[in-house]
């Protein structure tokens, strides 16, 4: 795998100069490769990891397990397409195991999300059942620990 992608995954705000230094490659090559990846759709976008709990923004996330009946020839594609078009839906994953689709939904309150599930998701034709789990606290997200800074326990004992 291209190390450039690894670095951008680690921190999308590295400057091209920093990326060039870390990889030991000319800055122009880095710029070109990023453009290429964006064009190809390998890089789909850049986002910020925000600890919403520290802001005054009211935001709640739920994970909804959907059991669905797959359609002949198109399998899960059709229902997944339908579900992912809702603005409230943050991500949709096809899962192995006890249920089929994992849907992450964000909303302002329990009420809002519950209504979304009851009025929009549950009534869909191929949906057999839903189970809604509200996310209570985020400890670590996308590889980043959200609560407190890790403490460096190392001491200068000798050089």
């Amino acid at each position: 795998m291209d190390k450039l992608l690894e670095l951008l995954n680690e921190n999308a705000r590295y400057t091209n100069a920093q990326l060039s230094a870390m990889l030991g490659e000319p800055k122009e090559d880095i710029e070109k490769r990023i453009k290429k990846y964006e064009k190809q759709g390998v890089i789909k976008g850049y986002k910020t990891i925000i600890n919403w709990e520290m802001t005054d923004f009211e935001r709640l996330t739920a994970i909804i397990e959907l059991k669905v009946s797959p359609k002949k020839n198109i399998g899960f594609e059709e229902i997944a397409e339908t579900v992912m078009r809702f603005d409230e839906v943050e991500s949709v994953y096809l899962m192995s195991g006890g249920y089929d689709l994992m849907v992450m939904v964000t909303g302002k309150s329990f009420q809002e999300i519950a209504m979304f599930v009851a009025k929009r998701l549950a009534p869909l034709d191929s949906v057999l059942s839903t189970a809604t789990h509200f996310l209570l606290s985020r400890y670590k997200q996308d590889g980043v620990i959200l609560h407190g800074e890790p403490v460096d326990e190392r001491r200068n004992i000798l050089l």
Partner: protein, 389 residues
């Protein structure tokens, strides 16, 4: 009232306390200090290695091991030394497991140094060789290494330092604090000087796995005629991020190893058992961990080097260990002044080069055992500091 000063030996009183202790005490008291001063990996010991230690405890492996260390571990070290350096050491009588590389250095110097013997110590280098030599009754003779030689020990400098009293040469490469390495051709030049003498070499290879680019560490013991005059010190601390486990090893001619084992047996008994079990796992299945950590260090090394150059420092390109050693001479300050001012004005802690010997004057040691985020923040502050001068 007991006069404790009269109780302490002359020799221990001769050993100076570390001059920069005070400096770190200040740094530790201050808030919001960002440090690039620590010389140990920021990684945790890889899980499978920790697990092997835990398993050994569960199995009740809580006794002393033999004085020399676990047989299985010595076997693994023997295999490692062969696959890494193509040199053979018998697990029976040429390998000793110690409490870190530090104990091995102490044992070696105390076993070969008599009163008045001279020990050659290239500087800048790790801080323990000098005091241990003094405590053993020996005379430390420092050899200044220079940035224009990439901080390598040169054959010329070595030849000039040798006297009839010279007993031991310390070869601390890859080097802390400079990051300098000795390549095969440089070691061959050193070997040329030593061939036919009775001078022994203590090769401190604790950073031997941490070299970057196409450089691979070469042990001087693998150079012709050097095997019989070399004591190789190595350990698990830097290679596998196992500093707290306190485990090292030493290999060499059996007559010397036997003397060192005697000393180890009376002073230490045996190295920590749990750590020894973990170390077996490290040697058997830890190669991928080394690669992962090395590639991470290399990335940071490039980043920090680029950062210092951009700010306007002259910085020799380190090829090993995890330190850079930029020159601060253009600021007109000496190393201590620079570090102190930087600490007070921007709250960045670096180590003055003089902590590693007088020849470190005009340099600072910068460790990259830190996350890139931490390094970038420190570089920003250093840049602000330089702009304000």
């Amino acid at each position: 009232m007991i006069d404790y000063q009269s109780i302490l030996t002359k020799r221990i009183k001769e050993v100076k306390p570390s001059g920069i202790r005070r400096f770190f005490d200040i740094a530790n008291e201050m808030d919001d200090v960002i440090s690039l001063s620590i010389g140990e990996p920021d990684f945790y010991t890889p899980w499978h290695i920790r697990d092997a230690g835990i398993k050994s405890l569960e199995m009740g492996k809580t006794h002393y091991t033999s004085n020399k260390g676990l047989n299985d571990l010595r076997e693994e070290i023997s295999k490692y030394m062969y696959r890494r350096n193509e040199i053979s050491y018998s697990p029976e009588d040429q390998i000793l497991i110690t409490v870190g590389g530090s104990e091995a250095i102490d044992l070696c110097i105390r076993s070969v140094i008599d009163y008045g013997d001279e020990v050659l110590i290239p500087e800048p280098s790790f801080v323990c060789y000098n005091p241990i030599t003094v405590l053993a009754g020996g005379i430390p003779v420092t050899i200044e290494t220079k940035v224009e030689d990439n901080f390598r020990l040169t054959a010329d400098a070595l030849r000039k330092a040798i006297t009839p009293k010279t007993k031991l040469l310390i070869l601390p490469y890859p080097n802390n604090p400079t990051g300098g390495v000795m390549r095969r051709e440089h070691l061959q030049e050193i070997a040329e000087v030593l061939r036919g003498t009775n001078i022994m070499v203590l090769s401190d290879e604790i950073y031997g796995e941490l070299t970057y680019g196409d450089v691979r560490h070469v042990s001087i013991a693998s150079i012709e005629d050097m095997y019989e005059r070399t004591i190789v010190v190595n350990g698990f601390s830097k290679t596998y991020a196992m500093t707290g486990w306190r485990l090292g090893f030493v290999c060499g001619p059996k007559e010397i190893m036997s003397a060192m084992t005697k000393l180890h047996q009376y002073a230490i008994m045996s190295a920590p058992t749990t750590a020894q079990f973990a170390a077996i796992e490290a040697l058997k299945n830890g190669d991928d961990d080394i690669e992962m950590m090395k590639s991470e260090y290399d990335k940071r090394r490039r980043l920090i080097l680029d950062g210092f150059k951009r700010i306007g420092f002259e910085c020799f390109e380190p090829e090993g260990a995890f330190y850079t050693f930029p020159s601060i001479k253009q600021t007109g300050m000496d190393s201590e002044q620079f570090c102190e001012k930087l600490l007070y004005s921007q709250r960045v802690a670096l180590v003055p080069g003089t902590a590693f010997g007088d020849s470190g004057q005009g340099f600072v040691r910068v460790s990259y055992c830190y996350s890139t985020k931490h390094i970038l923040e420190a570089l920003d502050r250093i840049e602000t500091f330089i702009k304000q001068l």
